[in-house]
Amino acid sequence: MVNPTTRERASVQELIAKAGNNKRKKAIEKIIPVILFLIAGVSVLTTIGIVATLIFETVTFFRQVPILSFIFGTEWLPFSNKEAKFGILPLIAGTLKITLIAVIVAVPIGLAAAIYLSEYASDTARRIIKPVLEVLAGVPTIVYGFFALTFVTPVLQTIIPDLKIFNALSPGIVVGFMIIPMIASLSEDAMSAVPNAMREGALAMGATKFEVAIKVVLPAALSGILASVVLATSRAIGETMIVSLAGGSTPRFDANFTDSVQTMTAYIVQVSTGDAGYGTPIYYSIYAVGFTLFLFTLLMNFLASRITKRFREAY
């Protein structure tokens, strides 16, 4: 090899050869991927930990309480002095009430906001509104819960005099507000992904922006929008603090929205803040409820990923 210039020091290649830490380098190259793989394994271990914990403790629970009376029971009276009853249906009913109201509130508003942002808003408007939605998404749920209890419920009571302090309506609405940013931003992503050429094609034939949004963009982005709604529903099902603070703690198996309710999550919180002794049926019941909750959200997430996969847009 020819060196460009003559100089007193050795050539770089010679210096490199002298520095020669190849063995160490090779060892590092071998060890690092293994270490990183183990780190990546933590997330899998977490899932395994969650599933194993839930199953294990739930099985213990079913040794004390028959599984059928849990699944089909319409009475949830764990603290009863006479005969405790562990029928999950009232808690599921409570969860579904909250979720239903939340979805009814969030889907129209979230979708409208998404359409506005993706199809109508100017860049400036988008630059202001999107961060605000992000803030809305970043508000801790405990704050929303406090808001539901101290503001939304009193306001609703002036409209519906029958409304109790703890009810399904107020936390349901607030959970709805909580998931609006999720629906809005995920749906907007889906709509923004629709190629402009499709919009231009319709606009060039004289379609109005509204027609483009409803007849071109919405159908094209449907899978993304559906997935966003399903994911948001899953969030609503798992929401804890809003319902704990504003929903109350009365498990009831009915379609009453104005009285105190209890969701699965709120029950877990109720037991955790109380002093249920370790090893009692009440202690194990939170795992059985947690497991049920986990299955619900898992199903939702699975559904969302199926929707995105199945209807992946072809553009």
């Binding site: 090899m1 020819v2 060196n3 460009p4 210039t5 100089r7 020091r9 050539s11 770089v12 290649q13 210096l15 490199i16 520095a19 020669g20 830490n21 190849n22 380098k25 090779k26």
Partner: protein
């Protein structure tokens, strides 16, 4: 193009002749023997034989998709960054087969520098860009690093332009300057061979000229292999030219011979602009 492909099938059996000896032949740096390469099921390089000599500029030309970039990336095994690449045959670098299991790619790439299509400086200071190579290979002495940086920047004919702002981010430079920084970065480990993969394709004409002049200077001390889709560039700066088509070497000869009196009809068609 399709017709040409069919013709290739029959004539490719004749492996391209080594460039005829006009002067005392310089030693061979890179000797490619019966190299085949597949991306998955796509046969990208077919029976390549190519002896590349020391202290020459060897240009590789051909239409897009002919395998010229693939070939130059095979020379320092960068092509293996793509999943599903398989090779057969051998490439001898200074007599050692680079596909040999004992030959580490890092060692090979320390000896063989590369300049890429798009200027790709690191988002670091100019100084850190140049010092990157020496540093990763264990040179820590600040004084020696300073020396190497200056010498490499001088070698890439950009020292005067940047000597007062060695600590600014390399991205603040123009595209042409960035590319010369990238050349300086490659020079910093004093490689034996420099591979250049269309180094001027993203540059304006004036920057291109500067890089071409630089290549001419560098050839005194380095063996240079340059891929270009610009035939005039090949004619201007190279000593030898290899014409690639559909993954095969159609012709390999002295550059003036290729451009003035090509042996193969397809070479003539290509350089006269009938396709490509």
């Amino acid at each position: 193009m399709v017709q040409l492909m069919n013709r290739t099938e029959t004539e490719a059996v004749v492996s391209p002749p080594e460039a005829p000896v006009r002067e005392a032949a310089k030693p061979v740096v890179y000797d490619t023997k019966q190299l085949n390469l597949w991306y998955g099921s796509h046969h990208a390089l077919k029976n390549i034989d190519l002896p590349i000599r020391e202290n020459e500029v060897t240009a590789i030309i051909g239409p897009s998709g002919c395998g010229k970039s693939t070939y130059i990336k095979t020379l320092n095994r960068m092509v293996e960054l793509v999943d599903g690449v398989r090779t057969s045959g051998e490439i001898l670098y200074r007599g050692r087969n680079i596909f040999d299991a004992k030959y580490s790619v890092e060692e090979l790439r320390t000896r063989v520098g590369m300049v890429f299509q798009k200027p790709n400086p690191f988002p670091k200071s100019i100084y850190d860009n140049i010092a990157y190579g020496p540093r990763i290979h264990g040179i820590k002495n600040k004084k020696i690093l300073d020396e190497i940086v200056e010498q490499s920047l001088r070698g890439a004919a950009i020292w005067d332009e940047v000597k007062d702002r060695l600590n600014t981010n390399a991205y603040s430079l123009s595209g042409g300057q960035q590319q010369r920084i990238c050349i300086a970065r490659a020079l910093a480990i004093e490689p034996d061979v420099i591979l250049m993969d269309e180094p001027t394709s993203a540059l304006d004409p004036i920057s291109t000229l500067k890089v071409e002049e630089l290549v001419q200077e560098l050839k005194e001390n380095y063996s240079i292999i340059i891929v270009t889709h610009n035939m005039q560039q090949a004619a201007r700066i190279s000593d030898k030219t290899a014409f690639f088509l559909n993954g095969e070497v159609i012709e390999f000869d002295h550059t003036d011979k290729i451009f003035q009196n090509p042996a193969d009809q397809r070479t003539e068609d290509y350089i006269s602009g009938r396709f490509g």
